[in-house]
């Protein structure tokens, strides 16, 4: 009988249910204990999905702590631990990229916003690389994606035709980690306009981490998202263009044409992509890029700070117009200088929102 944590047990519930009716009282008692413990673990998993803060092991004195796992071309997460905080570079480039880029993202939030990891309490940054998916015959194939599963990041290697390894882009890593930050702050509901804002903040801070790390001014910096992740082709420059939504790829044989709108009048109202969360993010993306460029200097200094405070003040059901209103209120506060509010109102007007 399993006497350890039910997570490590291999006895499935249906065997325990049978044993719970055993003539032997000791067998019955152990089976019932296993079923109760298993049910509690499943209930915790359901709660944790709804409340991410439950999954965090409180370690308030912990600072930057990274773990990178190798999923070894399977879809099982996290996989095998291959690099921990304090350990030197390894031979696997994807592991080092995940490690370094997570570190840069941690440093960005810590240095600029005194934010200690995603939850503000030193939560360990967990990444898995070489994550794969199964095809129609059950074979594992490289994944053309990167995602956040609520607890950790997962990066695919790409098929080498359209996509390269997703760890290759600092803004992709920053984007995924920012989804984590959002789950502990505004927790914008991941559908329709609130979901588009969720995507938008992930793009903003992903790109800002890169600009900050490279020391680029807003005028000289790239406003492209995921450029390094694409196998180069003349029909595609990036996955998204924050300054010019809708132009990142045009008549590309694999990606088609960039569907992002640059103005509220072209808001996507279809059902796909949870109501266009990766599509409508183009509208606030453009407002942010215009705002940052209008102010000159570094995008993270004023625009980034306004946006960080905005992200903290929005709620799970905030719409794009709420983001505009709140960001302008914040920009109007004395710490940001007189030009900020004016520049921001003008930027939102350009994308069709009058504040």
């Amino acid at each position: 009988m399993c006497e350890r944590s039910p997570i490590q047990c291999i006895i499935p519930p249906y065997i325990n249910e049978h044993l719970a009716r055993s003539a032997n009282p000791s067998t019955r008692a152990r089976a019932i204990a296993n079923l109760k413990a298993g049910a509690a673990m499943r209930a915790q998993r359901v709660m944790a999905q709804a409340m991410p803060s439950l999954m965090v092991s409180a370690a308030p004195t912990q600072k930057k702590t990274r773990q990178v796992f190798d999923a070894r071309q399977t879809d099982q997460l996290p996989g095998v631990l291959v690099r921990s905080e304090g350990q030197a570079k390894v031979a696997d480039k994807a592991v080092n990229e995940a490690f370094d880029h997570a570190g840069a993202t941690y440093d960005f939030y810590d240095t600029l916003f005194s934010r200690n990891s995603l939850d503000g309490k030193g939560m360990t940054l967990v990444s898995s690389v070489h994550v794969a998916e199964t095809d129609d015959s059950g074979q594992f194939v490289p994944m053309n994606n990167a995602f956040w599963n609520g607890e950790q990041m997962a990066y695919g290697d790409g098929d080498g035709v359209i996509f390269r390894a997703f760890t290759g882009s600092l803004d992709v890593v920053g984007h995924e980690l920012t989804h984590g930050v959002e789950s502990f702050t505004s927790n914008l509901e991941y559908r329709n306009q609130s979901g588009a804002l969720n995507e938008h903040f992930a793009d903003v801070f992903g790109v800002l981490v890169r600009q900050w790390k490279n020391g680029e001014t807003a005028a000289k910096a790239s406003w492209l998202v995921g450029a390094e992740v694409l196998v180069p082709a003349p029909t595609r420059r990036a996955i998204r263009d924050m300054e010019n939504p809708g132009t990142a790829f045009v008549n590309d044989p694999d990606l088609g044409t960039d569907p992002q709108p640059a103005h509220m009048s072209k808001l996507f109202t279809g059902v796909f992509d949870r109501g266009g969360v990766h599509i409508n993010s183009g509208i606030p993306n453009r407002a942010f890029a215009l705002f940052a460029k209008a102010l000159k200097g570094n995008a993270w200094d004023v625009a980034g700070r306004v946006w960080y405070q905005t992200m903290l003040q929005l709620t799970s059901t905030s719409q794009i117009a709420d983001c505009a209103r709140v960001s302008v209120q914040i920009a109007a506060t004395p710490e940001f200088g007189a030009a900020a509010k004016k520049a921001l109102k003008a930027a939102w007007k350009k994308v069709g929102i009058a504040v």
Binding site: D136, V172, E176, R274
Partner: protein, 101 residues
């Protein structure tokens, strides 16, 4: 049997789709697809299952029309049953860029 498949979401957010009609496919290919659809038991499954806390997961919509019935299910990469995952694997190979008409 007609199957309309639309993939969306993922980090890139690109929309791809295909529309297949087993009545116009070579019969051996039609049999493969019909078996994948049958095994996925879409009729008996919830219409929509999407991860609460996942972000940038690929999203799949499968609409099947046949025998006078139509069924549409929406899933993401984390909520697929093994059988639906196999069907999605097949449909992803047929999909091309763009939203359905």
């Amino acid at each position: 049997m007609k199957i309309a498949f639309t993939q969306s979401g993922g980090f890139a957010g690109a929309i791809r789709h295909c529309i297949l009609d087993t009545g116009t496919m070579p019969s051996s290919e039609a049999a493969v697809l019909e078996e994948l659809v049958r095994a996925a038991k879409l009729d008996a499954a919830p219409a929509s299952r999407l991860s609460v806390s996942g972000r940038d997961l690929e999203e799949y919509q499968i609409a099947v029309e046949g025998d006078g019935r139509s069924t549409t299910v929406v899933r993401d990469a984390s909520t697929l049953s093994p059988e639906t995952r196999a069907l999605v694997g097949y449909l992803k190979k047929c999909a091309h860029p763009g939203a359905p008409p």
